[in-house]
Every structure is written in C-alpha cells, then in structure tokens.
Symmetry: C2
Amino acid sequence: MEKKAKETGVPAEMSTEEKILEAARVVFTQKGYAATRTRDIAEEAGINLALLNYYFRSKEKLFHQVMAENMQRFFGIIAPIITDVKTSLNTKIGLIAEAYINQLNQNPDLPIFVLSEIRNNPAQFKSRIPIDTLIADASFFTQLRERRPDVHPVQFLINILGMSVFAFVAKPVFLAANVVDEAAFQAMMEERKRLIPVWVEAMLNTQ
Amino acid sequence: MEKKAKETGVPAEMSTEEKILEAARVVFTQKGYAATRTRDIAEEAGINLALLNYYFRSKEKLFHQVMAENMQRFFGIIAPIITDVKTSLNTKIGLIAEAYINQLNQNPDLPIFVLSEIRNNPAQFKSRIPIDTLIADASFFTQLRERRPDVHPVQFLINILGMSVFAFVAKPVFLAANVVDEAAFQAMMEERKRLIPVWVEAMLNTQ
DNA sequence: GTCTATAACCTGATAGAC
DNA sequence: GTCTATCAGGTTATAGAC
C-alpha cells in the first residue's frame, strides 16, 4: 500500500558514491548525455541532487567516468580474443560471438550508447584506445588474410560483429513489431552462439 | 577572405520553410532530439530563430516531421522487396543489401537515429508502421521457412541487415581507428553488394 | 555528509517593430 | 515574412544551515 518507500533502483547497502555512480551508469547508458538530467540520476540513486555535485563535481565529469567504463566494456571484450596467437580462427570467431552475446544480454543499451558516443566525438575515442596498433598486431587478422587473401579482413570482422551486435541494436524493433517476444529473443541469441561460427566458416569457404 | 558570407549548409535558392526543414533533417538526424537546440537548426538554415516557430510551431512538431521521414527512409526500403512474390529468395537478399548500402551511403546517420528513436519510444513506432502484418504476409519469410525450416527466419533477417546496416553503424569506429579511410570504406561497401548474397547463400546451405 | 534554497545559466517560445 | 528583444520555464551548480 505504501508507495513512497524507496523508488530508487539501486541497492540500499551501497555507499552514497556508489549509488550515484550506479544510477548514472543506468540512466546515461540508456538515454545518452543530452537527454539525461542530473535530477533523473539523483532520483534513480535515491539521494539528493546536491550530493551528485558534492561527489562528482559536475554532470560532465560523471558522464566521462561512465563513458570510459562503457568503452572498456564494449572494446575490452574483443582485444584479448583477437590477439591470442594460440587459438584457431574458428575458435576466435566462436569466442567473439559468445562474449558479445553474453555481455549484451546483460547490457543491451551498450552498443547504441558506444556507437553514438563515438560518432559524436571520434577524436576522444581515438586518443583513448590504441585500436590501430591493436589491429595491426592481432593474429586474428593474419589468420583471416591467410585464409582469404582476396577479401579485406575487415569485411569478415564487420560480418561477425554485425551478426553478434546488430541483433541487440535491432532488438527493440523486433519486440515492438511483435516479431518475437523477450523469451524467443533470448532463445535465438543462445542459438546464435553456436550458429555464428558455423555461418562464418561457410562464408570463408565461398568461392 | 571574407568568412562571414553565409555559414549555412543549405542552398540559398530554397524557400525559407524548406531551408528550415532541410537544416532540421541534418541536425536532428545527426545529434538526436535532446542534443539538438532550435538555435542550431536556425543557424544551419541561415535564418532567424523566430522563423522556426513561425513555420513549424514548435521544436517537437518539427522533429516529428523529420522522424516520420527518416522512418520511411529506413523501413520503406525493405517492405516492397520482401513482399514481392515474383522474386527468388536470393534475388531479394541482393536487393535488400544493395538498397540499404545505397541509402546509407547517402544517409550514414540514419541507422543510429532510427534505432535510438525506437528504443526511446517503442510505442509510437508500433502504432506508426504495421510491421507485424507486413512480416506475416511477406513471401520472404515463407521462402526462408521452406529453405531452412529448422532455423527461425528472423535469424537470417538479422544476419542480412547486420551485414548491410552494421557496417555503417560501425563506420566511425573504423575510421577513427585508422583501420580504413573513407575511400577504402566506400570500396568495401561496393564489394559487399556482391558478397552478401553469396555469403547468405552459403549460410543457407550449412548443415 | 546531507539537506533546502537559490543563484546562474540555457533553451524554447512569443511579442512587437518593421 | 523577417527580425530583435525578451519572457517563462527548466537545468546545472553552489551557498549555507544542520
């Protein structure tokens, strides 16, 4: 009956600083920087608006912290997999698909957040992650070039990420269109972990 | 030398109303609703802020117009292709890939705009486009089910769209990371028009 | 550390002159 | 139709009491 208890979405046992940061993760990742009001974060955290500035100085500083975490969540997945010289190409593909599907099942808003953010501000992304050297060194690309010297390795990377990540980007469309429900989507994503390596292997064998 | 001439991005010969609408297309599609200020649109259009409200009443009304156009641009592509009963499955796949790659080459910001917008407001999307009946009727899905009754047809739709659309969503990442430059990206997209039907055909043949 | 009150600023929208 | 000036409301950030 009492509906005023706590409308907050974060656990009560957290420290105030953690409550704010956790609330900021949720709201910023879901709505983006511009559409988020500091009041939304304070409410979600169940604390007073002034405390946000007390702990994090400004909306922008708090956002940068969340953004850095999200970048790490999104790109940190793939780096150790593609640079591992001990695994086969097919193993890498399976690991990439599985890692992204697991991660995005828990953080479905991550792709749109990260990709919007990079488009809005490519420069800061460039300085933050040394992707160019990462890719030059990655055994994943060497393996792709050996297997299919006639096709740019990035073409296959786009396909693998497209098949893993795009499903989650388009998830709201399929749900809104009643094409699948939440349970069916989950089942399909589980199935994809197995299917993506099979599909990509078939691609690699085409003439 | 004179740098004050006109900073506007829209042609001078347009009517004022068209200048505002065209500027709104550019800015809203690139930055989204919340991050766009009506002043940005006015500046891009090379007109006064008051004229925006004179012609379009409010920021929200102007946005709705741009959004409706963008939805049509994004989903209008696929509808006639997947419902055409006279074309083969493989032909449809090639047409979808080609149509999206051509459209997104001209409007690279379209996917993130549309997908963010639907995630922010699934309800209005649901009422706007009768996707459920579209999909139930589409011969594309019948053809997929006949070909691979063991896999949900949406799995293949995700793959085709993922391979066509995701490339553009991730484009800023690849550019910022110096993996490819603009010219190389263009060339790769051209190559994809040919490769996607080949790749999907190989997927459909897997055991 | 936490709160209330408020300052300082920004943004959408309009009034009114031309 | 188009402009300048300004209002009204909302948002970030801070001052100051507790």
